[in-house]
Amino acid sequence: MSGGGLDLHRLVPPHVMAFEPDSVAPPDAVLAGRYGVPGLIRLHNNENPLGPPEAARAVLASVGAGHSIPYPSGDAWIVRRAVADFLAIDADMVVAGNGANEVIGAVLKTFCAQGDNLVTADQTFAVAEWVGRAAGVDVRLVPLRDHTFDDAGLLARVDARTKLVVICNPNNPTGTWWTHDRLDDFLRRLAGRAIAVVDEAYQEFVDEPGFPDTRALLARHPNLIVFRTFSKAWGLAGLRLGYLIASPEIVALVRRVMISYSVNAVAQAAGAAALSEPQHLERTRAMVRDADRFLRRELARLELPVIGRSGNFLLVRLPMPDTTAHRHLARRGFLVRTMSPFRFPNHIRVTFSTLPIMERFIGALEEVVRVR
């Protein structure tokens, strides 16, 4: 690479040169034009088709011309307080960011130097893996066991240079999760040798008993960090708002590397308003239950195996490449997520939506599978 004779490669660290950037799709309208369809129904990003709670909508509706838009609270004071009230914890235990991804990056910057390592699973949400590699951190991937994070396998890879162990609970994309007792036992065996990072982006969708009680675990394990997001059940993905919960000591360290003002004023206000309307979660869970029941039945009829337990998505194995199915479904107006990049070849992940959408989707999927 050169720019006017400048050897840019010489100036870039090797781990950055070796890093493969994420491929980003064009906006839906552009993609729809390329696929020759009037629009695309988004079943690929695990968003909430019901949108945000009414209270958050009201905040968004109030943003208009004529208002001055001053700087937001620099450390997301508004939303941190709202989260603290919602979870009945102290606001000094919360760090909010421009999406949970920003907070994940901040945790990595706080604890990891080049040559340190982080341990996570091979078939899971990849942001920790990506952020780690881009920072020159050795990323150690442990295979799932029965589509679930393997506690013994993770512990076996921990050594003196391990700074983070990252667990997705429930796991995206398999939907499996560790119970309270299993996570508690894992943290006990980890014994403070590394920070345990638990991504709970999908915890709102778990409606079975036994899911970890974050508050109780934080009280017992000072090396625990839990991530949550407003992008999934709360329906605010486009505002980019996520947060971590941890001990005040960890929060104080992470805040050293957080960029002030990264969470905009609208996101803070909308996020805080959303938490005032927990009944939105009930409506969302009901929609998810209906879609889950319908999809499982229809996919069984199509003889397509599924993997999934909790979450607003289902992993479906196809008798064809997932990338092929993605194109043919897009041509029929549906976006799904290919799972080859998650190391599940021939699988797609489908986000639950309302029943009319699910019925149309099954019709399109049946065409695609049958045509082959």
Partner: protein
Amino acid sequence: MTAAREISLSLPADVALAATVRSTAHAAVSGFGFDEAAASGLAQSLDEIFEFVATVRAGTAFHVTVADRRHRAEAEVRCDLPRAELHWLSAVRPIDLNDEDALRALGLLLSSRLVDRFSVGFDPLGAVVLRLSKDRAYPPASATAEPRPADPDIRSDGLVRVPSDGQMLRLASLFRTACTGPVPLPFRGEGRAADMRTAGDLDAAVVTDPGGGVQGAIAWVRTSPRLVTVFGPVMAAGREHLAAPLTDHLLRLLARSDTLVVVAERIAPGFPDTQFERLGTLAGREVFYRGLEEDPGAFCWADDETRPLLEAVHERMSLPRDVLDAATVLEPVLAHGLVGAEIDRSTKQVTLRPLIDGRDMAILLATHVDLCRRDGFEHILLATDHGIGWHARLGGAIRIAGFAPRILLPNAATGDVLMWEAELT
């Protein structure tokens, strides 16, 4: 740390130093353990290039590195060769002894014919980079050991692994046993696949039984920065059920890498059809494709000749493409173009690729086909990259030269690659 087995020379392009280049290259290739034919072929080829550069660009910097890649000796040349002279490198260009211009460049013309592989490229700063290589001669493979009797209880879990050097020999043996048609080059000759793996030019995975016996294998090479070509999977009798898990293993390895496209051919029974898209037939073999990422859409160039075909494929494969008119691409500046040729004489196949645009491309393509036919090649293929405007403008000339379009490889290079095959006359 073991040092790379390579020798480099940096010297001014001066005819008086030609012997130095020749003797150094010869000594290096011989020292790497290659036979006299390889040593003298590569040395003579380098000598011809050096003398030509010394004639047309006397005194300019000439850098050559001769490397031992185990299965082949490879030379990389960086020099100040004018682009207008590169067309002489065409391996199948006719030599007209009455053409003064051709005689002036005769050495350069010969240089590409003295080696097994010759490519022309440019570094990021625009300097010419020539790569030429001679293959190591391998003894014929020994009698094939029969794979062990099938054990129906064997499972892939935990048994897919990176083969040892010894298992690489059994892997090659399995390929030779299982292939129903021509055996791919890496598996011909005893030891070539193992050497290619050591050189980093081939990767492989095997399914083994508890005793370490190779019961199934898959191998792959990186054909271009974004494309991986797969060989196999090939399975021992009764092990066909392990072909899909073995392929899954490869696809997981390639996930989150810079590989976008995997291409495979059906070379043996048990090919996992559900993990690939069938593109069609090329050189008598079924070709399959697998994208590794969601296709975000792209543009592609087409002329009147290729537009209907490309649009039909886009429709059939649901490929999101904006088709641009290649007629708007500027005409070439150079009088002479250059077409690269990858030659595999054992399968009588040659693959041509347009490298440099020139006003004589139509004649050049037709001449290539004519010469390849006269030389006994049965499969004459041509690859055009439809992410490159001037490639797409050649559709009419390509048709006239006798080619018919066969398959489209999405995202295989700058853009989608259309593979053509010269039709039998």
